[in-house]
């Protein structure tokens, strides 16, 4: 469980087994070769083995300690665990090896999409600029047999665009109490926590817009597939992400296509696993050949959103909403820090009257305060950018670790600087985004395709209060 975000670890994925369920914890059994023997119960109630010479040996009980129990994921979430095993660098290599052996007709198109946060982590680790890192990593993947390597700019742009629209729709819906605050949905650790612990209460407030990873999934398995005249199952889609929790996200049933038996994202590999892949091959990224990234059909340039390592939701939605709802252009955003750097808020006033109240809350402690404020009916915000990791996604659990924990802060600052060195743009200044949207999704009022490709849903998984689970 180590790589997962703290928020996810807190949600009792591995809680105690209920006595009615069968424990699946494997126990090592020492098998001694020898003659057949009998087992008898001694007068003291122990079990003893009796060999052919009549010598009794007391048998040791198989013991399952609490520690075994807590470390075992057999109960509750075995389905999820199996799915996550399909999400590893080994699996990617296995697919590439297999792909190299089959006939051209059977070959899958192997596509890798890389998040900007993962690029920043790799660039920091291998002392490269962002541009160099993109091209070297692309070169490395190509040398392994990957067909296409994309950044996730287009998915990020569409995620922001759709979230802007969703926010304005909610704001105008009139029913502000049940529609706002709108909470972002891009962080799978947060979604998992919300579903497992606050289900029915909190889910209606969470934006239904898919995360950039899952929009990338739709772009690759739908838009790219159509363009290449391939079925979704003929494409193997890998994302390289900052976060282990993204593996859980990709494994959700909501992103599985029954018809083609394929997932929008087949495999998620973290920055940390990429480092291990390189180390296993005795490679340093800087030695790899530079190959420019590919571009999806309709994507004319790279896109990096203003507004930081968490995807720029707060800033892009705020400037759009101010313009759309109040015909106000907002300048540079001034944040007010509440308690700690991971909890900041912004208020936009129109004619001296506060109109839009947005916040960014990162890390479990700040998520907790937002949720509790909402439960008490005292949340003052219209929109909250929520991320489970402290310092948000650049500090994700799947990012490459510093060589020594004592330099963790500087390490993170360097990743941040690399990320900030990207040429950031405001969404509305990028022409091709609207064209791509129109070409792929179709007219704005065609809800069917829009909902299918850009939206998702959430499911309450609150623990049923089972009398057997209650201690004392």
């Amino acid at each position: 469980m180590d790589g997962f975000s703290g928020t996810l670890r807190l949600t009792d994925l591995n809680d105690f087994i209920a006595p009615t369920q069968e424990c699946i914890k494997p126990v090592k059994i020492e098998r001694k070769s020898g003659k057949l023997s009998a087992i008898k119960i001694t007068s003291s109630g122990d079990y003893a083995e009796v060999d052919s010479h009549g010598v009794e040996t007391k048998l040791v009980k198989a013991q399952i300690t609490l520690n075994d129990c807590l470390a075992c994921s057999g109960c509750v979430t075995s389905a999820e665990t199996v799915l996550i095993q399909l999400q590893s660098a080994e699996e990617l290599c296995r697919v590439l090896d297999e792909n190299a052996k089959v006939s051209a007709a059977e070959r899958k198109l192997v596509v890798v999409s890389v998040s900007a946060q993962a690029f920043a982590s790799l660039a920091n680790r291998y002392q490269l600029t962002m541009k160099e890192c993109e091209e070297k990593f692309c070169g490395f993947l190509r040398s392994m047999g990957v067909d296409r390597v994309y950044d996730m700019g287009a998915a990020s742009a569409l995620a922001l665009k759709e979230t802007q629209r969703e926010f304005v729709d909610r704001y105008r819906s009139g029913d502000r109490k049940s529609a706002l605050p709108m909470l972002t949905s891009a962080c799978p650790g947060w979604i998992c926590y919300a579903e497992k612990t606050h289900g029915l209460f909190i889910l209606p407030f969470i934006s239904t817009t898919k995360s950039p990873q899952q929009i990338m999934g739709s772009l690759v398995k739908n838009h790219l597939a159509e363009h290449q005249c391939k079925s979704p199952s003929q494409i193997y889609h890998v994302t390289v992400m900052m976060c282990y929790d993204k593996k859980l996200e990709a494994s959700r049933d909501d992103f599985y296509d029954d018809l083609y038996r394929t997932r929008d994202v087949d495999c998620v590999v973290t920055s940390l696993e990429v480092e291990q892949m390189l180390e296993q091959r005795n490679l340093v990224l800087s030695q790899c050949e530079s190959v420019p990234l590919d571009r999806l059909p309709g994507v004319e340039s790279s896109f990096h959103a203003v507004g930081g390592g968490a995807g720029g939701y707060l800033e892009n939605i705020l400037s759009f909403a101010a313009k759309e709802l109040f015909q106000t252009e907002i300048g540079p955003i001034e944040y007010k820090v509440i308690r700690n750097q991971d909890f900041r808020e912004v208020t936009i006033s129109v004619n001296g009257e506060p109109k839009l109240h947005f916040a960014a809350a990162y890390g479990f402690r700040n998520i907790q305060n937002i949720v509790q404020k909402m439960k008490r009916g005292k949340c003052p915000y219209d929109f909250v950018e929520i991320m489970a990791c402290p310092s948000a996604c650049l500090n994700g659990g799947g990012q490459i670790r510093p060589p020594d924990p004592s330099v963790a802060k500087i390490w993170l600052q360097n990743v941040q600087q690399l990320f900030d060195s990207l040429d950031c743009q405001k969404l509305e200044n990028v022409q091709w985004v609207q064209q791509l949207y129109d070409a792929w999704i179709g007219p704005q009022d065609d809800d069917r395709k829009r909902l299918q490709l850009l939206h998702t849903q959430y499911h309450s998984l609150e623990n049923k209060s089972n009398a057997l689970n209650i201690k004392w």
């Binding site: 308690r339 700690n340 305060n369 509790q372």
Partner: protein, 334 residues
């Protein structure tokens, strides 16, 4: 000779009693337990009587209570995952003003910082939480600490600064401090061989006492870089281990800030009091403690908690699985 004598049995709980705590002026004793109620005991004409029953705030066992430094607030924590804050109004009546949610399962302990600015809680979910206490009775979560690898049993604050100490089923004791942006674990005290059930500071905040399932009580001392008195490195070090006094798990300890005596109790139903041998004190040597008094079969079942009265130092309260709260008088050695 020192002695420990029973002053009074307090009967009001219908089930095991988990915790007893005196208010800061030593005039009220709060007790709580599996019957889901809190009883406040006060003295009337020399007798301790149940003055208030606080009920209906928790759905399951109330594991612990804690008084704020002013005695205005009482916090209770429960196996129902919540913490309840009670406030005393001008007429002296206590009412529930807030419920703090967030722990994943049983909350084991709560404690207020000496400044009254922070409340801390810990749980079977392995976390320690720090809450801010605002003037308008709003409670915000400041930090969620994942340092322990197992159930966290108890927490306590330093009497002189905002330093929190916790102890756990993972056999360790940990110290936490605010580093400016978040709370971080500054020290991990290892040495106990089993669950550390309780931890308490002395009156100066320079020493800690812990007790464990390993049937020992340990005294820890904090050495600063400037202390050239010992060859110890800066940080917390175990300076004394008291073993052989309890023959079962030791569930609770308390260190009197008034007279410096340590009380311990546990599954052997016995209460023991230890005093420091001050005549032998030598800054270059480790401190010595001796057993000053003991009360075998203080209760008929496990004794879950003990608490020294913070003003009337000779008064000691205890509570047990037998459903009783008891008040004892302790006469110190001559």
């Amino acid at each position: 000779m020192s002695s420990l004598k029973l002053l009074q049995d307090l009967v009001a709980h219908d089930d095991r009693v988990w915790c007893v705590k005196w208010n800061p002026t030593g005039t009220l004793l709060a007790s709580c337990g599996s019957d889901k109620k809190i009883v406040l005991w006060g003295e009337e004409e020399g007798k301790w009587v149940a003055k208030v029953h606080l009920t209906e705030a928790h759905e399951r066992t109330i594991r612990a209570v804690a008084w704020s430094p002013t005695g205005t607030y009482l916090a209770s924590c429960s196996f129902d995952k919540t913490i309840c804050i009670w406030k005393r109004d001008d007429t002296g009546v206590f009412g529930a003003i807030a419920t703090l949610e967030g722990h994943e399962n049983e909350v084991k302990c709560v404690a207020w910082s000496v400044s009254g600015e922070y409340l801390a809680s810990c749980s079977r979910d392995k976390t320690v939480w720090i809450w801010s206490c605002e003037y308008d009775d709003e409670y915000d979560c400041l930090s969620v600490l994942h340092s322990h690898s197992q159930d966290v049993k108890k927490i306590c604050w330093s009497p002189v600064e905002d330093v929190l100490v916790s102890c756990s089923y993972d056999n360790t004791v940990k110290c936490f401090k605010d580093d400016g942006d978040d709370w971080t674990c500054t020290d991990t005290l290892t040495g106990h061989e089993s669950t550390v059930w309780a931890v308490a500071f002395d009156g100066t905040g320079k020493r800690l006492v812990t007790c464990s399932d390993d049937r020992t009580v340990k005294i820890w001392q904090r050495f600063n870089a400037l202390d050239n008195s010992a060859s110890q490195k800066p940080g917390w070090h175990c300076v004394c281990t008291l073993s052989g006094y309890h023959d079962r798990a030791i569930f609770d300890v308390d260190w009197s800030a008034i007279h410096g005596a340590i009380v311990s109790t546990g599954a052997d139903d016995c209460i023991r009091i230890f005093e420091e041998n001050l005549t032998a004190q030598d800054p270059l040597r480790e401190p010595e403690f001796f057993a000053a008094a003991s009360m075998p079969r203080a209760h008929s079942q496990d004794v879950n908690a003990v608490s020294w009265n913070p003003v009337r130092g000779h008064l000691l309260a205890s509570c047990s699985d037998d459903g009783l709260v008891k008040i004892w008088t302790y006469a110190r050695p001559e």
